[in-house]
Subunit: 80 residues, 2 copies
């Protein structure tokens, strides 16, 4: 089973990387570009085949390592 | 309109960041963790309201700045 974890910054948390992309797009001539936010996508291959247990394990991974729950939100998608 | 751009490394391209996460998960006691790959998620707010034109514009952004088509794949999702 494969887990796709999406980690994004919480609303209100400054995102300098996103700001840099936003300015670069403006410099390249793209008009009408509003806020840009950058997040992470982490794909984890799991030996676990039970959906419920896999979900719980990835949830623990997120809290322990993959995301910083103080400033980041995360969502987990399981793919067979 | 908002565009969600997912940028991932192509198969076969080495991913040291993913490898580091994989080893860290192992060290933390997570068993049965296979390959880990890390990608980027970029959310762009667009003034454009026409779906087709917005898609084309984001496609151009990807080729010009957001992704490196030599080593990365990208996918675009438009959200109203």
């Amino acid at each position: 089973m494969k887990a796709k974890v999406t980690v994004t910054l919480k609303t209100g948390v400054l995102d300098p990387q996103g700001k840099a992309v936003q300015h670069a797009l403006g410099s390249l001539g793209f008009a009408g570009v509003g806020e840009v936010r950058q997040g992470k996508l982490i794909e984890v291959e799991l030996a676990e085949t039970d959906r419920t247990r896999a979900g719980e394990e990835v949830e623990r991974m997120c809290r322990a390592l993959l995301a910083n729950p103080v400033i980041e939100n995360y969502s987990i998608e399981l793919v067979d």
